[in-house]
């Protein structure tokens, strides 16, 4: 575990690196000339280049796939040829077809768009140089966070720009379904993975062999989103482990000397999909990915989205990280091609690495002024924002106070230097006029009033909710900076204790309860706790003794801010606990739960009993379910289309009571992680 800290510290050394705007010098050179630039990345030392046909061939002819095909044929009663054809079909659907021509085309198009919608794209050059070096040594896995569709293109675009081999990218299958665009993406290096693979053995086999072969051949970096999905809430998502395990396997089995993981943090001032995401969270279904939809959405390309920061982290050597964690000899006694599930040791290692990558992505992310403002705005009663407005100078004052706190907590800020703070505030507000606007020295919530007509209370509320959820998303962007101290602050208020061990117990309980909301590296709670203590100590909010944590004179301001920051989560969770306990039946369907909670929340918001709109977020609702499942208070009973659950009301009530500090904490035994 000490290992992690070394790694994290090393990465922290890159503090205050210089970012260069890659649009700046190119803005005036022709897009065409850019697209036709000579592209000459230094070659990979380990093996010669490999075309996509050769790659597919290698996968289909692999011993591993032959085993699985035989097995599947035996199980299903079909002939080996049929299964093989099926595998070819899967391969055909999945495989990328990276061609430099299309990278150029993409480069051309992307540049045009980027120049229009972004004022700047900042990239840390040092990170790129290190990456270029790394791509020659061993297989590199690029692991960006995923906040926007733009993420897909931007990394390839930058690498093409700087003579680094362009990656093959794991993408969701819906993108492949788009006319023309799907094909362009494919030829730009995307390969497509189905969403619900479930227990389709053949599909798993083709996919995993495909990924492993890419790693083994090492001819191009592999890019994938360890969070699995685009985060609808702009918060980090708990990592998905399937892909991670596939990538690690070639190293564990000695097929490559090492694998380099490279966390990439992409931060947006303003996310293109912001309102789409908010509506999706409110239950408006996400439009299907289609080319027509894309063209329709071109409206969003007329707006300005501020800056984008792409922070290339430091390469991490899997070999170094796994030293002492994995006994590679375990693969000596069976053929390495034989289908085998990764054992517990390997899985734990994969999970640990994946979580660490997420943490590093968070640490590498840049916090914008807008994120800080969102934190402040969300602590103001909704009525103030919708009716009388918040005094602008008050907002400024509090945001600046928060900026200091964030810096104390080692956040990377992208607060423009040499610009008066009030200008920063105004320009930020201008950029986000879709969420808030300023009128006569006061700040109001923007509500989409395109259609001048009478709204019902519900409709009105939904408009407010959409704006507030957008605001919440931007707050989420910087939550990782505050989350550990905030959980400690919360533990202090729940336990009303100063004893370290009691606080730690509560801290762990909160981590466990909120582990779908915030990502923590498994098994590292006490380090997280220590970190929280030292950060709070650093900003002089608490005194930390050997056995005790006590708040200081200046403490309450910071502590109550942090407690408020998490309040929407606590309130929403309590609301849903209450809903579950008040239901008549002990068995419910997921669909009914979501709509039931929404109805209840709406009612309570209108009546003024509930202060947060975040309980309306389907994301939060699903998180509560998984959290309760992990704690054993809810069990899934069918795996059919209608997910049915059975609730243990007393357990739910007990959890709620513990969270409210009404009953002392019991050690919660979480069920083993079933996310794999």
């Amino acid at each position: 575990m000490a290992n992690t800290y070394r790694v994290l510290d090393k990465v922290r050394l890159q503090d205050e690196e210089e970012f260069v705007d890659i649009l700046e010098d190119k803005r005036y050179c022709s897009d065409l000339r850019f697209a036709f630039r000579t592209f000459s990345p230094p070659p990979y030392k380990g093996a010669p280049a490999c075309s996509s046909d050769e790659l597919n061939q290698a996968v289909l002819e692999s011993q591993y796939l032959r085993y699985v095909i035989k097995e599947v044929a035996l199980e299903t009663g079909s002939s080996v040829e049929e299964v093989r054809d099926e595998a070819c079909g899967i391969m055909w659907e999945m495989s990328q077809n990276l061609q430099l021509r299309f990278i150029r085309l993409l480069g051309f198009a992307v540049r045009k768009v980027f120049k229009r919608i972004f004022s700047a794209i900042y990239v840390n050059m040092e990170g790129l140089q290190v990456l270029q070096q790394a791509t020659q040594e061993c297989p590199v896995i690029l692991m960006p966070n995923h906040r926007s569709y733009i993420d897909f293109l931007v990394v390839s675009y930058i690498l093409f720009n700087y003579d680094i081999p362009v990656p093959v990218i794991a993408a969701g299958i819906p993108l492949a379904g788009m006319k023309i665009v799907g094909e362009i993406l494919r030829r730009s290096g995307a390969f497509f993975i189905r969403r619900a693979i479930g227990s389709d053995k053949l599909y798993w086999a083709v996919l995993s062999e495909y990924v492993r072969t890419i790693v083994r051949k090492g001819f191009a970096p592999l890019e994938f989103f360890v969070e699995g999905l685009r985060s609808r809430t702009l918060k980090s998502l708990p990592p998905k482990l399937g892909m991670m395990n596939m990538i690690l396997e070639p190293f564990f089995k000695g097929e490559v000397y090492d694998v380099t993981l490279l966390p990439i943090s992409i931060s947006y001032d303003r996310v293109l999909e912001e309102s789409l995401l908010a509506h999706e969270l409110l239950g408006v279904p996400k439009p299907r990915e289609s080319t027509a939809g894309l063209l329709k959405a071109s409206r969003v390309l007329q707006e300005n989205y501020g800056c984008m920061h792409v922070n290339f982290g430091r390469p991490l050597s899997v070999r170094r990280l796994c030293e002492g964690k994995i006994n590679r000899c375990q693969y000596n006694l069976t053929p390495r091609d034989l289908p085998q599930k990764p054992n517990a040791e390997a899985q734990a290692c994969g999970s640990w690495l994946a979580h660490m990558i997420v943490r590093l992505q968070e640490e590498g992310a840049l916090t914008s002024p807008w994120s800080l403002m969102a934190c402040v705005l969300l602590q103001v009663p909704t009525a103030v924002l919708t009716e009388e407005g918040l005094l602008f100078h008050q907002l400024t004052e509090q945001t600046l106070w928060l900026r200091k706190l964030a810096l104390d907590f080692r956040a990377h800020l992208n607060w423009p230097e040499k610009v008066p703070d009030s200008d920063v505030m105004s320009s930020t507000m201008a950029l986000h006029r879709s969420v808030v606007y300023r009128k006569a020295g006061r700040v109001y919530l923007t509500r989409n009033d395109e259609l001048e007509r009478k709204h019902s209370i519900e409709e009105d509320m939904m408009r407010t909710a959409a704006a507030l959820l957008m605001l919440a998303s931007y707050r989420n962007q910087c939550l990782h900076v505050f989350v550990r101290p905030a959980l400690l602050a919360l533990a202090m208020s729940i336990t009303k204790s100063t004893k370290k061990d009691e606080l730690l117990t509560c801290f762990c309980f909160l981590q466990e309860l909120f582990s779908n909301e915030f990502v923590f590296i498994p098994g590292q709670s006490s380090q997280d706790f220590e970190e929280a203590c030292s950060l709070l100590h650093k900003c002089k909010a608490v005194h930390v003794g050997q056995w005790e944590v006590t708040d200081s004179d200046t403490g309450p301001e910071v502590l109550s801010f942090l407690q408020e920051l998490l309040k929407p989560f606590i309130e929403s969770y309590q609301l849903m606990f209450r809903f579950l306990c008040e239901e008549r039946d002990c068995v419910f369907r997921e669909k009914d739960f979501l709509s039931g909670v929404r109805t209840l929340a709406t009612k309570l918001i209108v009546s003024g009993e509930l202060h947060t709109y975040e309980a309306l977020s389907s994301d939060m609702q699903k998180n509560v379910l998984s959290s309760l499942r992990r704690l054993g208070a809810v069990t899934k009973i069918t795996i059919s289309e209608n997910n049915e659950y059975k609730v243990n009301k007393s357990a739910v009530r007990r959890t709620g009571d513990m969270l409210a500090g009404r009953i002392p904490l019991q050690i919660v035994q979480a069920a083993p992680d079933a996310r794999l």
Partner: protein, 637 residues
């Protein structure tokens, strides 16, 4: 012979020529002599000690006083060594080898280029042994007294003792060069026959003296190191004078041989009768039959003749419990676990092998070398695998990686004729330009075929046809032959390196076919990485070769050397890197050793290699056979 010849030039030349004919292979048909079937008694038996050996020393290489002909702090014969002459050209001295007396023009550049070594930076080895640095012997008086009465020769001179306190691990030689002497045996005895050994072991048991058997002294596993914690008197039991072929049985094609005979003598003497064993480990000039048995040795031509365990028919070993041997010479038995396998690989922990009946074969009618160039190592390995699959491996087939190919090139002696140099140029042009081989990726396999002429030619074609499928191009007999020649001089090269701040060693493993490429890449990369981490200032040489093929896998050799200028404790760094490399080998499915053995160097991995029960089995055998740890070299367990 070299020991007996009093500097007579003509005899020496004859010797050299003779040796070459052994090492270079037997190009002519054997001269048909009357095979002598002789049974010799142990002359020492009940008679006076045989101080100098008119009969037994005849034609034998190793004298009792090894220092007369061999280096005390380096490899091999005193008269043979590499040096840079006044012109700065590398030269190999002496006249024992084909390379002897030749200039090697490429070596200097290669050393400078590969290691960043510099002829200006030289480290001198301690020229002569400082006997005062050697601890005085701790003698067990009672033992010495009784031994004297048996008439078996012994010595407690410092030189004799130091010589038997080490093998050829880097750290052992490095210490000697620095004049550092650790614990050494207190006494050396030279039994002349089986019965002498029985007597010595009996006395050792009686007086609780520690015995360490010594054969050729070529161990590279710290097997000969005296355990520092040993408080008893340590007696080195040197078998080198037990070097007779006791009989040859032409009906069954076996020979009964004393265990101290060294490889070159065994081959030469058998050759005189028209036979050979075909067992040719790289150390065959100095390593002994008993040593081969005790370490499970492997010879270069095992594809035809087998490894040592395939060659022995009968073994006699003296243990503290008595003599162990089988009652007959049946070619195979089903009589419980084969007791030979307690002896094979026992590394001197159970007793002394005294006599061995070994299979012999008529000398091959025809020998032919060959070589194949491959565009890259991957193709080369694929070809070897295919050869193994078709079970058509020649007597020897070895695949060197690109670095070793370059190294082999650097060791080419000066070319005398313009014509050969022109031909070489043409070859190079053909391979790199016409065939498009990348000189930084290509690699070469060396081949040796043996057998009846017709069959050899047929076999050769088969192998070259397979090679062609993997992009291999035949690259001539010369290259192949030189490859095998170098095997014998390469050990001398380490001494040259050490003169110029370069230290290195080789180590080996065996590994399943599907892991060969992975293990080669990973271990080489690990060595480079570890050197960097440990502060080695210059990039190391990290190279490998596949030296043996089996049905289910291959034997891989790694060579590792680096320039240690700027390091305060180079040997420690070396050992750390080698340790890491071994860990890497094991993690990649390689074995702890293919034929070097475990000794004390690799002991720590024994348990994970053979499991707890396995270690327990070996322990219980040791406990029964040698309860008082008379054979106390502490190898293996």
């Amino acid at each position: 012979m070299a020991s007996n010849s009093s500097g007579d030039e003509s005899t020496r030349h004859q010797t050299a020529r003779h040796r070459l004919s052994v090492i270079a292979g037997h190009l002519q048909r054997p001269t048909d002599r009357n095979a002598a079937l002789l049974a010799v008694d142990c002359k020492a038996q009940g008679s006076k000690p045989n101080v100098n050996t008119s009969d037994r020393g005849e034609g034998r290489t190793v004298p009792r006083r090894r220092q007369e002909i061999m280096k005390w702090n380096g490899w091999g014969y005193s008269d043979s060594r590499f040096l840079f002459n006044k012109k700065g050209q590398a030269e190999f001295t002496g006249n024992r080898y084909r390379l002897s007396g030749m200039i090697i023009p490429g070596l200097k550049d290669w050393m400078e280029g590969t290691f960043g070594a510099n002829l200006q930076h030289k480290t001198q080895a301690t020229p002569v042994l400082n006997t005062s640095a050697v601890q005085p012997p701790t003698l067990n008086e009672a033992f010495v007294e009784e031994l004297k009465s048996t008439g078996i020769p012994f010595s407690h001179e410092a030189e004799d003792r130091v010589f038997r306190a080490h093998g050829h691990c880097l750290h052992e030689i490095f210490a000697l060069r620095e004049g550092k002497i650790g614990r050494v045996p207190d006494m050396v005895v030279w039994p002349n026959c089986h019965n002498n050994v029985v007597k010595i072991v009996e006395l050792a048991c009686k007086h609780n003296v520690c015995l360490i058997p010594y054969g050729g002294g070529t161990s590279v596993s710290s097997a000969l190191e005296c355990p520092p914690e040993e408080t008893r008197s340590i007696v080195s039991l040197d078998t080198s004078q037990m070097n007779r072929i006791l009989w040859i049985d032409e009906k069954n094609l076996t020979a009964h041989v004393e265990s101290g005979i060294v490889g070159q003598d065994l081959e030469r003497l058998l050759n005189e009768s028209g036979y050979c064993t075909g067992h040719e480990p790289d150390s065959m000039e100095f390593s002994s039959l008993g040593g081969w048995v005790a370490t499970r040795a492997s010879g270069m031509k095992k594809n035809i003749y087998g490894n040592i365990e395939d060659l022995v028919v009968h073994i006699k070993m003296v243990t503290p419990r008595g003599v162990i041997e089988k009652s007959c010479q049946g070619p195979r038995m089903s009589t419980g676990p084969d007791i030979h396998h307690f002896i094979l690989g026992s590394e001197g922990t159970l007793g002394v092998v005294t006599e061995v009946t070994i299979k012999i074969r008529p000398m091959p009618e025809y020998q032919k070398y060959g070589s194949v160039v491959f565009p890259n190592f991957e193709q080369g390995v694929a070809c070897l695998r295919e050869v193994a699959r078709q079970r058509c491996a020649p007597a020897s087939i070895r695949l060197m990686d690109n670095e070793q190919f370059k190294f082999g090139h650097a060791l080419k002696p000066q070319i005398s004729s313009i014509f050969t140099s022109f031909l070489d140029g043409l070859k190079k042009f053909y391979i790199t330009k016409f065939k498009g081989f990348d000189p930084n990726r290509l690699c070469v396999a060396t081949l040796l075929f043996e057998g009846p002429r017709e069959k050899v030619l047929q076999h050769e074609k088969q192998v070259y046809d397979i090679a062609a499928k993997f992009g291999g191009l035949a690259a001539g007999e010369d290259n192949g032959q030189r490859g095998y020649m170098l095997t014998f001089v390469i050990a001398y090269l380490r001494d040259l390196g050490m003169d110029y701040y370069v230290i290195g060693e080789s180590f080996e493993t065996s590994v399943p076919w599907d892991r060969v490429l992975d293990i080669c890449r990973n271990v080489k990369a690990r060595i480079v990485r570890e050197c960097k981490d440990k502060g080695v200032q210059f990039p190391p040489l990290s190279t490998c070769r596949v030296t043996q093929t089996y049905d289910a896998g291959a034997c891989v050799y790694f060579y590792f050397a680096f320039n240690y200028r700027g390091l305060s404790d180079p040997v420690h760094v070396y050992e750390q890197v080698e340790h890491a490399a071994r860990e890497e080998i094991l993690a990649n499915g390689g074995s702890l050793s293919h034929h070097h053995g475990v000794g004390k160097l690799r002991k720590e991995w024994m348990r994970e290699t053979v499991s707890n029960v396995g270690v327990g089995m070996l322990k219980s055998v040791k406990d029964y056979v040698d309860p008082n740890n008379i054979f106390g070299n502490r190898n293996l367990l």
